[in-house]
Amino acid sequence: MVISPVHYIAVPLLAAFLMPLLAKIHRELTRIVPGLVILYLGYVSVVLMNQVMAHGTIVEVIAGWNAPWGINLVYSPFTGFLASMMTAMAFVIWLYSYRFKKVDSQPALKYFILFMMLVTGTIGIVLTGDIFNFFVFLEITAISSYSLTAFYRDRDGAEAAFKYLLIGSFASAFILIAILLLYTQVGTLNMAQIAVRMHDVPTHMKITILILFLVGLGIEAEMFPLNGWAPDAYSQAPSPVGVTFAALVVKAGVYGLIRIIFTLFDVHGAYEYLIVMGAITLVMAELAAIRQKSLKRMLAYSSIGQMGVVMIAFGIGTNEAVFGAIFLMFNHAVIKGLLFMSGSYLVYNTPNKEIQYLSGYGMKMPLISLFFSLGALAIVGLPPFAGFWSKLYILIAAADNQMIGLIALILGVSIVEIVYYFRVVGRLYFGKPSKGSIMQKPTYGGVIAMSLLAIVILVVGFYPDVITPYIHNAADALLDKAQYIHSVLPNADLSQIQNLK
């Protein structure tokens, strides 16, 4: 069998539908099969990434209909990097949730089916080269996210899920209308061809469509003021799902936003819009985070804030900045994953998941506390951990564009970030232990998952070169619009294509 990008979508989707049958054969299969599927996807990632690094973008045509008529998958260094990152994070999340809460097989079955759908949807969003297909994957992701948010019956999951659904429906409505309008203007759904024909679209129409896309995808990318659902969903979803949101779902949303702005449209002002909205998102989220009582809610706001930084960096739009942004996306996935995983064990039995009950847990749960502290040090960008490098790259890029005020803003907000993370770390290790709190012993899978993430943080921190070549290629691929179009449509007329950055 030839390895191709379509396996990313076909295999987990197939597994999701087969799982009820497999569960009839043996209960344990529902837990094992997702792992095997993701492992296979990991293998696919390794093979394809090598291929892409050597030979450039792979375009997979589905069912023999060539672009622009058929649906195609574009596995460029950028999308490939994101897909591989998501696969790796999915594997870690699977390890973590393998025995998370020893539930009977029925919830496990539901959980893993939805999880597989979520993986399919998010990776599909990243890989697809067709705008309507993009919408479909977005909806697959959304529906499975809503369901997973409400997975636990004993929490306020349903409330969070309903808010998410309400806002998410708006997002899909806007995106659908935008696609419709776009189709009336360019008569195609293929993203490369849309990009080619974009310059013929009247400017006011172009801008209207862009705004609809920006609002719709802004919701998925947790942009302020469209992110009211996000903290609720993060904090009420089961912890592995919280990790999935941070590592997969929001990344897919940001990807959509970036693809629309960088490749499809050639409108001035979109980059500045990203910078401004990213900055507002960053400030609002971090300021809200500092006053949180619940640990998971704090992590959620912090996650939104990091997405703000990612948007700022993409908005700067130079190669360096985009490099920093992709690096930060990677770091955020890994570090926030570690924080959510360890944090959820810390607050496992505390009332309302509140931080104030965490005093002295460093003695009781040394390993988990160590993981959390490592994550906290890394996410605020202290050297020599992974978060430092991405921050440095982004700041350098901003400085090269003479955006000193912006740097000062990012750094100022980082101080806020340091305050709330170090409050928790200080409390973990040096608060007086309260009596009677019951510790939850982490599962073996959970410990392995967290150790893997911790190792990645340390390795990337000490030797970023393990990852930077891939990110450099990814940044080049994202910025080279003509190359994207050429690889999808070899005969397209590229003369009208203009790169704004």
Binding site: I207, L226, I290, L377, L392, A399, G412, S414
Partner: protein, 615 residues
């Protein structure tokens, strides 16, 4: 193998080994840490030289490490004092929990300091700077006295400093496309006036935090006092000197290549801030009743002197500042070890309750005495030489007001110096300390070595003048004339310190011999209560000495100055900010419909203003 890399790796490996070996035995962890620092020190003194360059390419950056005359001095200081402190730490920390954690961070701090000193480029400088920050944060909260609150304060200020530096260095890079420190030094003159002002301000803020200059000092007293004493010995003695190290680079090497206006203002402002810092901190030190706090405030005051010297920037002032920096590292390190020893043996550091430990802990007293003499700037010990040079440099550079402040604070320093000695070692014997014994040899030894160093450098300051002069000429101050034991002042007079010192020593020895001969055979052990006051025999719990309310009149005199602490305003500011944040986050009302409303409103706003935003 390259010896600079070797030093860093030894310390890093030592940190990890110390953490792991705690599983075998807590004591082993401390010993491993000591051995690591000692072997790093040996490598530093016997192998390292200024020919070696380490180049590590990471990501798109090249980290360059090297050694020069300037960093060698600081490196030597760090290695010696860290070795002493870690030796002291073995017994001091015995029996405490989480030793692996403590030693890990101890070694990491030392590694970070050496890294800062080796760094030839700003990226590695910043990396090590931040490692130093978080490792010291983790040690400050080690005792957990205030539920991490002082730790947070330290972290906030360090972050302000660190991020000011980060901002400065990315801006620098956008100007000159290089992270090398030497490139900044050489191209600083070419920057526009605004850029010079901005960079200067940012770098000075960064270093000002670590060296606890006035508006940025509020973290320091509690942070110094709350850490374990064996760590404070290097925290106050050495970590703060990293700020001085940076100040040296900026004030001497970089600013000398600048347009005069702004930088001149910075120098003057900084000198004034430093002088005010030293006066206020000295006042605070005088009214403290806790020995740790007293030393902490005294550290801030002394750092004020050092920064003042660097800010004045004449040859003599810089020489004085660097000399004082080294002396301060030694005597403050020793004094914190002394307090640590007292704390270990008696369990407290409150000077109103302690007393008369001189008979119980004679060696500790001896070390304390020498260090206090050096601190107060009394000949023949090191502090005197430094202060002399500093005063003289202030006079010759026409800073007459500053010298008044400097005199004021150094006179007030006598008050707390005396109180420290008296409160702990002299005065009335307390019953509860009857069974106190001298600390073990491994704790006495580092204190004695420290005091010995003070004597040596006090007597022969020329031993230090030579490397200091070469360091200063490395920084671009040209030739600095120096003479073994000879000080020359602005009017061409020469003061041979050796003569002064010899006479003092001879007087001391003669008096000692005289007293010894006179009192021979008539000595009798007398306890404090073994007296008759007007025919009454004092009872057991009667107080005969002034350990409580020691400087009441003085306190009353300075009360108006002390009324409002800087800290108070910072706390109010922080509270105000948090209230504001609390208000802001209410946009997340919790009502899903409101969120939907936001989306629509946002969409409408975008469409209405679409012509202005996009084109």
């Amino acid at each position: 193998m390259n010896s600079l890399l070797l030093i860093i790796l030894i310390l890093l490996g030592g940190a990890i080994l110390a953490y792991l070996s705690k599983r075998i035995s807590p004591m082993l962890s401390s010993i491993v840490s000591f051995l690591a620092i000692t072997s790093a020190a040996l490598v530093f003194f016997f192998l390292a030289n200024d020919q070696e360059i380490v180049k590590i390419s990471l990501g798109d950056f090249v980290l360059e490490w090297g050694l020069n005359a300037y960093s060698w001095i600081f490196g030597a200081m760090v290695m010696v004092m860290a070795t002493l402190a870690s030796l002291f730490s073995i017994f001091y920390m015995k029996g405490k929990d989480r030793l692996g954690y403590f030693n890990l961070n101890f070694d990491l701090s030392v590694m970070a300091m050496m890294g800062i000193l080796f760094s030839l480029d700003w990226v590695s400088f910043f990396i090590f700077w931040e490692i130093m920050t978080w490792s010291s944060f983790l040690i400050i909260v080690y005792n957990g006295i205030s539920e991490g609150k002082i730790g947070i304060k330290y972290m906030i200020f360090s972050a302000i400093g660190g991020y000011a530096m980060l901002l400065a260095l990315v801006v620098t890079r956008s100007q000159i496309h290089s992270f090398l420190i030497t490139d900044l030094i050489h191209s600083f003159a070419g920057f526009s006036g605004n850029m010079q002002a901005l960079l200067g301000l940012l770098f000075l803020t960064a270093f000002g935090v670590k060296s606890a200059v006035m508006p940025l000092h509020v973290w320091a007293p509690r942070a110094y006092a709350d850490s374990p004493m064996s760590y404070t010995a290097i925290f106050s003695g050495l970590l703060s000197k990293m700020g001085i190290f940076g100040f040296g680079i900026m004030l001497i090497a970089v600013f000398s290549h600048s347009v005069d206006g702004t930088i001149f203002v910075y120098r003057e402002v900084l000198a004034w801030l430093a002088a005010i810092t030293s006066v206020i901190a000295t006042f605070y030190a005088v009214i403290q009743t806790d020995a740790k706090r007293l030393l902490a405030y005294s550290s801030i005051a002394q750092l004020g002197y050092i920064v003042m010297g660097l800010a004045i920037g004449t040859k003599l002032a810089v020489m004085a500042a660097l000399f004082l920096a080294i002396m301060h590292a030694i005597y403050k390190g020793t004094l914190f070890m002394v307090v640590g020893a007292v704390e270990r043996q008696t369990g407290i550091t409150d000077m109103t309750r302690l007393g008369a430990l001189i008979r119980k802990m004679p060696w500790t007293f001896f070390a304390a005495l020498l260090s206090i003499i050096a601190l107060a700037g009394i000949p023949p010990l090191g502090g005197f030489v430094g202060k002399w040079m500093l005063y003289e440099s202030l006079i010759t550079s026409d800073h007459y007001f500053l010298i008044i402040l400097a005199f004021l604070s150094s006179t007030a320093a006598f008050l707390y110096s005396f109180r420290f000695l008296f409160g702990i070692f002299l005065g009335q014997e307390e019953k509860e300390f009857e069974n106190v014994k001298e600390v073990p040899f491994t704790m006495v030894l580092p204190m004695l070595i420290g005091s010995l160093l003070l004597v040596v450098f006090g007597t022969f300051p020329g031993l230090l003048f030579k490397p200091l002069a070469s360091a200063m000429s490395f920084l671009g101050m040209g030739d600095v004339s120096w003479n073994m034991s000879m000080l020359s002042n602005g009017w061409g007079d020469h003061v041979d310190t050796l003569d002064v010192i010899n006479s003092v020593v001879i007087i001391f020895v003669l008096v000692a011999i005289f007293l010894g001969l006179k009192n021979r055979k008539r000595t009798r052990y007398v306890s404090t209560k073994d007296i008759h006051t007007s025919g009454e025999i004092p009872t057991e719990n009667e107080n005969l000495t002034y350990a409580v309310d020691f400087y009441k009149p003085f306190e009353r005199a300075i009360a108006p100055v002390m009324k409002r602490k800087m800290d108070f305003y910072y706390n109010k500011f922080g509270e105000g900010l948090e209230t504001f944040f609390d208000f802001l986050r209410r946009v997340y009302t919790g009502n899903g419909q409101t969120y939907a409303f936001y989306v629509i409103v946002f969409l409408v706003i975008l469409i209405v203003f679409s012509q202005q935003i996009f084109f």
